[in-house]
């Protein structure tokens, strides 16, 4: 812990204007980040409510709580809310928005007005999707597969599609803003290879958002147009090709998984370096691993169509590329481990979350290799094995990383310390609850339980009850931070400028930072993560 004298800064971004208008029309990236924090938290709760319904239904083998049609809508809305309105924006829009200008020594993002616009575009998109929920729901699955979504489904497909289309522009604008900011707004001396790995990760994420999101946008336009006008582009009955839809959809939606995980990986790099008080092992490897994931991630989408009538040669290539994309992810995990090796690792709550991330992400990543194997995938595809796999990556990875980041930078964002014991307990409960929820799903999936059904054979009940019980534990773990973090605003002790004794420009300004971020433009003369060489046996 730092021992600098603690005094509350007089002028901060939080007290610069106290009216509602000063918040809703703010161009300050830090305030926009907090607007996003409120919004994504709200959508997380909605998505979580649908998850509760799913797990309640699956406690018993019979489909007794929800009808099959309602169940279709529940898992669809769970996926839509969580993927498009929580997981994709969560880390970039909240922590990326708050931290990127601070980390590179800039006053704000390159386009502050565009940043605010991006927030409202996101909100308008969410309103359309909420309209779909209240007007009867959506039952296509979050994947909108044709021709069901275009011809057969009687649910509110068009409002949901419009919502996702509009929301996509929010992601494009944020990505564009980050990319231009990182190119043009770095402080003097902040060279590319002095950038924190968090910034590299967001650069790679922006690349995917810019190149991928427009493709899903046009795909969704085609789905909506097909449904409204009756074009028949994806309808095999009139000469269309449903597999073409799948190609277009996954061209974005597979890289979207990397939009979710890359920024979380950036967080982990920061936490591990700070907690180990060491330079990240192989900095440039970790930086280029982010770019590598972004580039190769664009070439693996076909592994979603192994059983959809894709040619076996195409499948072979996609399978090989899918194995290859695991390499840069593995590089990151190994380099984090090597960073911790012989570091004086301190176990404050962010490190608990980071360690949890590494464990869960490793399982999620390695089970991805099972699914990349064409033969094994035929057995596992569309079973709970797949569900468990992507929850390990998206929930075990992204949310764990996000929580770690929130805990790591909370003292910077609010200027207050939270109850670290409670935070560590919460991290442990999340870890246990998560594994209890999703480990049984690997097993039940392998045994043959398909996804997206509200009823199942009796022999799967034990594993499903375990999973539902785990979800209850997980819910406790997720709710705890809401209470102790909010409590810290009132009762937390002042955090000081540098709560963890970390290096990085964001710790060189006051907590909370002033509106203009730095009193004078910082000049960077040191390398990234330049921690003093540890002394043997000395605990910092």
């Amino acid at each position: 812990m730092s021992s600098n004298t603690v005094a509350s800064p007089t002028s901060t971004y939080l007290n610069n204007g106290l009216t509602l208008k000063s918040w809703l029309l703010t161009k300050d990236h830090k305030r926009i980040a907090l607007l996003y924090l409120a919004a994504v938290s709200f959508f997380f709760l909605i998505g979580a409510l649908f998850a509760v319904l799913i797990r309640l239904e699956l406690v018993t083998p019979a489909g007794d709580l929800l009808t099959d049609e309602t169940y279709n809508k529940v898992f669809t809305m769970h996926g839509v809310m969580m993927v498009f309105f929580f997981l994709i924006p969560v880390v970039p829009a909240v922590l990326g928005n708050f931290l990127i200008p601070l980390m590179i020594g800039a006053k704000d993002l390159a386009f502050p007005k565009l940043n605010l616009l991006s927030f409202y575009v996101y909100m308008v998109g969410s309103l359309f999707t909420m309209w779909s929920i209240v007007s009867g729901g959506l039952d296509t699955g979050w994947t909108f597969y044709t021709p069901f979504s275009t011809v057969a489904s009687t649910s509110a497909v068009v409002p949901a599609a419009l919502g996702i289309f509009i929301n996509g522009f929010s992601g494009i604008l944020t990505g564009l803003n980050f990319m231009v900011t990182i190119h043009t707004m770095r402080a003097p001396g902040m060279t590319w290879f002095r950038l924190p790995l968090f910034v590299w990760a967001h650069y790679a994420t922006s690349l995917i958002q810019i190149l991928g999101t427009p493709v899903v946008a046009i795909t969704i336009v085609l789905v909506a147009a097909e449904r409204v006008f009756g074009f028949g582009l994806f309808n095999p009955a009139v000469g269309g090709d449903p597999v073409l839809f799948q190609h277009l959809f996954w061209f974005y939606s597979h890289p979207a998984v990397y939009i979710m995980i890359l920024p979380a990986m950036g967080i982990i790099s920061e936490i591990i370096a700070s907690s180990s008080r060491k330079q990240v092992f192989g900095y440039s490897f970790v930086a280029f691993a982010s770019i590598g994931i972004a580039v190769i991630g664009f070439l693996v989408w076909g592994h979603h169509m192994f059983v959809s009538g894709e040619s076996v040669y195409a499948a072979l290539v996609f399978s090989v590329l899918t194995f290859i994309v695991a390499v840069p992810s593995a590089v990151k995990v190994f380099n984090w481990t090597a960073t911790m090796y012989r570091g004086s690792v301190s176990w404050e709550s962010p490190m608990f979350f980071a360690a949890g991330f590494m464990g869960l992400f490793a399982v999620g990543g390695l089970t991805g290799l099972f699914l990349a194997s064409m033969g094994l995938d035929v057995h596992l595809t569309d079973t709970y094995f797949v569900v468990a796999h992507f929850h390990y990556v998206m929930v075990g990875g992204t949310i764990m990383g996000y929580l770690g980041g929130i805990h790591f930078w909370w003292p910077k964002i609010t200027g207050r310390k939270y109850n670290d014991i409670m935070a560590r307990v919460s991290a442990v409960i999340v870890f246990i609850g998560f594994n209890l929820t999703f480990l049984p799903q690997f097993v039940v999936g392998y045994l043959g339980m398909p996804r997206r059904y509200h009823a199942y054979p009796d022999e799967f009940q034990v594993l499903n009850v375990l999973s539902s019980a785990g979800a209850a534990v997980l819910a406790v773990g997720y709710m705890m931070p809401i209470f102790y973090l909010i409590a810290s605003l009132k009762t937390g002790e002042l955090a000081g400028d540098n709560a963890w004794g970390a290096v990085g420009l964001e710790w060189n300004t006051t907590s909370p930072p002033p509106t203009e971020n730095f009193k004078t433009t910082p000049v960077v003369t040191w390398e990234a993560y330049e921690y003093p060489t540890p002394v043997e046996g000395h605990v910092v």
């Binding site: 390159a110 386009f111 565009l114 494009i172 564009l176 803003n177 990319m179 231009v180 900011t181 190119h183 043009t184 707004m185 810019i210 190149l211 991928g212 999101t213 427009p214 493709v215 946008a217 046009i218 795909t219 336009v221 085609l222 147009a225 097909e226 409204v228 006008f229 009756g230 074009f231 028949g232 582009l233 009139v238 000469g239 269309g240 090709d241 073409l244 190609h247 277009l248 061209f251």
Partner: protein
């Protein structure tokens, strides 16, 4: 100011990259179906009169020239000529949309509209009706999105006209006109791709035969 201009230009170029991917998705669909139904697509292309499309191509290429001149005069600080060429560019853009509207109306008359519950017929070869429907679906998606971009372009031209008139644009700060120009040229280039893809390829097969 220089950093701001650099950022704005980079932002616009990045945005244009997203636009390429946006149209790219629809063009991929075109590519796949052109491969599936080469004869039907060639015949459907042949059914589109070439003259309005050719005139529109010329109109847009000419508008690129007037746009480039508008940027040039913004750079040299000649407000009068900048406004003149912005107006000329807008007139050409509006002319394009007028001709496009005429073409759409012709499609309606000839029963080539694949939606709204309207009758769709392909008398040139009734066996190709389904494939022709796909062709015309793509025709309307691609030209419709292009026309939407033209309409947005006209809005940007109006905005730039106001900014030049009220003195926001100066010789030192003309980046907005330059960025508007980038957008306008991009939309023109999209048409340069759409014209051969929708009107020209395979046309001669039926023209001669």
């Amino acid at each position: 100011m220089e950093q701001q201009t650099e950022a704005s230009l980079l932002g616009m170029w990045t945005f244009l990259v997203t636009e390429i991917l946006f149209f790219g998705g629809a063009l991929t669909a075109y590519l796949v179906y052109r491969n599936w139904y080469p004869d039907a697509f060639a015949l459907a292309s042949y059914e589109i009169p070439i003259m309005p499309g050719a005139i529109n191509t010329a109109v847009l290429i000419f508008s690129s020239l007037t746009m480039a001149l508008a940027v040039h005069f913004a750079q040299t600080g000649d407000r009068g000529k900048t406004m003149l060429f912005i107006v000329l560019t807008s007139i050409l853009g509006a002319a394009f949309l007028g001709i496009k509207a005429y073409e759409y109306h012709e499609k309606y008359v000839e029963h080539f509209i694949p939606g709204f519950g309207l009758p769709f017929e392909f008398p040139a070869n009734p066996e190709y009706t389904n494939a022709a429907r796909i062709f015309y679906s793509l025709y309307f998606v691609l030209t419709g999105l292009h026309a939407l971009h033209m309409i947005i372009g006209l809005g940007i031209m109006t905005w730039m006209f106001i900014w030049v008139k009220n003195g926001t644009i100066t010789q030192e700060y003309y980046a907005p006109v330059e960025i508007a120009g980038l957008y306008w040229h991009f939309v023109d280039i999209v048409w340069i791709f759409l014209f051969p893809l929708l009107y020209l390829i395979g046309r001669h097969v039926h023209h001669v035969g």
